[in-house]
């Protein structure tokens, strides 16, 4: 060991490695004689599975780059030795570099120069001699504190990148396992901890909103196709008396359950009617759902018409394409209240505010439509509100023939 140190010292002084019979080439850059004149002022190291590289910045602006890569040891791109992966020199070098981030540059250079070369093997000693020869000397007095314990630095296990990668793979496996467990928990209906924000959840919400639009539009188009007059009458009721429709819907909602109970009791009292109680319940639920959805569609129809700034003449049914367009516009308009909720629901406070706002708005619209459905008897009986004032139409305009009409008596030859 002493001999090896002496060899290293000679190498540092002479810039060559004696005794090996094959002196490595002197590294490019600064001659060893100038090494003592400059100071190490900075360093950067890079460790990967294949390469362990150290760059030392010197006070004269030059750099010393030492690299172990592919079995070759290079100093400033000049090959100065060789190593085998995992040999003592490779491990010692990597151990030193793994601690380089915690050392100041003088400490690192001091430690490198103080590294015992005996345990490194002949190749390692030779390479280390060339490395220390390229680095400037650092006296103990240049260190801010106590000199680093070199044997402790090298003796400790270096940070193994392979081990980190193994840990990473293990963590990835554990995360995957956790996801599977979370999926199972979700399936079993237990609420697990959820992230405050999730793109996948947002995408699901957007798809859900779009699906709702498509479903309601389909129902609306069906209503416009099969029962256009009823939808128009309900919509007309909403347009003429929105407040009254809302109030009717508001007060009707608490009466739904008593009405259902009354219906059931009435059927039960008739004895025979007991048989149809299940059917009556289903029919009642369907009727309420139809009234709510139909009313909501009617509101959408009105909103869409307002949006399009088109006014339908009083008393005329608009079952053409414009009615479909109004309905679609209205549905988009009404459902757009949910767009901020879908996008921002993960935000604390604001997300809840938006959700409640959208919920109340939708409830109000549905209630208004529900009330209008009740007031207009589902568009089948009469229209609620004032009778529309129809403009007087001149009798002359009741005829469309360009030929002036002849009185009946004249046609019969009476005139």
């Amino acid at each position: 060991m002493l001999r090896a140190n002496l060899l290293a010292l000679c190498a540092a002084l002479l810039g060559a490695v004696p005794g090996s019979g094959q002196a490595p080439q002197a590294p490019k850059g600064r001659p060893a004689a100038q090494a003592a004149a400059v100071e190490p002022v900075g360093h950067s190291s890079s460790l990967s599975r294949r390469t362990a590289r150290l760059v030392v910045d010197l006070s004269d602006g030059s750099q010393v780059t030492i690299s172990l890569s592919g079995g070759a040891v290079t100093v400033n791109d000049t090959r100065v030795g060789s190593y085998a992966a995992g040999d003592p020199f490779d491990r010692a070098w990597r151990a030193m570099l793994s601690k380089a981030g915690g050392l100041s540059t003088p400490e690192l250079v001091f430690a490198l120069r103080s590294l015992p070369t005996g345990p490194l093997g002949p190749n390692g000693a030779e390479a280390m001699a060339a490395i220390t020869g390229a680095l400037p000397q650092v006296p103990k007095s240049a260190l801010a504190g106590a000199p680093p314990d070199v044997s402790a630095l090298v003796g400790e296990h270096p940070v193994s990148l392979d081990s980190i990668n193994e840990i990473a793979a293990q963590v990835a496996t554990n995360i995957e396992l956790a996801r599977q467990i979370a999926d199972r928990v979700r399936v079993e209906g237990i609420e697990g901890p959820t992230a405050s924000f999730s793109v996948s959840r947002m995408a699901t919400d957007i798809a859900g909103l779009f699906g709702t639009l498509v479903a309601l539009a389909s129902l609306g188009f069906g209503a416009l196709f099969f029962v256009p007059h009823r939808l128009e009458i309900v919509a007309d009721t909403v347009r003429r008396s929105p407040i009254r429709s809302f109030m009717a819907g508001l007060f009707a909602q608490p009466l739904l359950l008593p009405a259902l109970v009354t219906l059931i009791i009435g059927l039960v009292l008739t004895i025979v009617g007991i048989l149809v109680v299940p059917v009556a319940i289903v029919a009642f639920m369907l009727a309420v759902a139809a009234a709510l959805v139909g009313g909501y569609l009617a509101v959408a129809r009105v909103v869409g018409e307002i949006y399009a700034r088109r006014r339908v003449q009083n008393g005329t049914y608009t079952a053409g394409w414009s009615a479909y367009r109004y309905l679609l516009y209205g549905l988009i308009g009404l459902l757009m209240i949910w767009a901020p909720v879908v996008l921002l629901r993960s935000i604390p406070v604001a997300g809840n505010i938006l959700f409640i706002t959208a919920l109340v708005f939708t409830w109000a619209m549905a209630t208004t439509g529900f009330g209008a459905t009740i007031l207009s008897k589902a568009g089948g009986g009469w229209r609620f509100g004032a009778t529309p004032q129809r403009p007087e139409i001149s009798s002359e305009r009741l005829w469309t023939s360009p030929v002036p009409a002849r009185p009946t008596e004249a046609r019969r030859g009476g005139v």
Partner: protein
Amino acid sequence: MIRAPLPALWIVGWSFASAASSPSAAAGVAWLAGAPRPAHAQDFRTTSGSRQRRGESELSARVEFAVGDLRIAPGATGTLYRYELVYDADRFDPIASYHPETHRLRVGVDGRGHGDLSYRNRPHQRLDLNLSPATPVALDLAFGAGTADVELGGLSLTSVKVKAGAAETTVKVSEPNRISCRFLMVEIGAIDFQTEKLGNARCERIEVKGGAANLVLDLTGQWTEGATSEVDIAVGLGSVTLRLPESVGLEADVERFLVNFDRSGLLRRGPNYYSPNWDTAKTRLRINLKAALGDIAVEWAK
């Protein structure tokens, strides 16, 4: 009372525009998505660096860290900077450069734009950075996703800029800044952002722009004696907790839209709010707060 809805809505728009335009924020969103993906072998590498102080009059430090754990703290006086970076070489390229002529340090990682970041990358990718307390530092920090623990106490700060996407970020100034600081600017996206003793930064101006964030702004600490400092806060969509020092005179101009504002301890005079000691205090803070859709809470500290 609802005041100035349009600026407030602008804040909301700005928040999302800035969040969407930030690649690091996009990385954060990708990370937050956390969609399960098949595991693959990762290639983590380590790079570190250090430089001795040699009479530098200033240091401009820019940190760009897309995802992972970031720690910034004061280092040894004789060391200008020191960093240690562990990164995933499959997805990121390391950034580490220092120009002795301009005293500019740039450190961090640069994503390769694969856009398939996931949660499992986060725990192992990390950056530890120490800066010299003795050298005046202009710190520019851009941070994407993960966690950031930034301790600026005891440094010599001339200015601080922090941009954070989707992350849990803590900025502490445990000890007073050694010199006076021109400004501290914070732009944050959808994150939990905590601060401690920002008064110790001794900045003439503090500016915080937040997106969808949970923001704790601790304005306690040793403000520059006898000075009046400005604090501009613009936050959309989120909650803001203001931790205010009792020893400093406060004036708050609050513009809010759909925001619950807990003004306990503040007196209203005209359009603004004032602390009881505003007229007598030598050291004063002017707070301009614009917020939309959220919650503002006030806590007092001695």
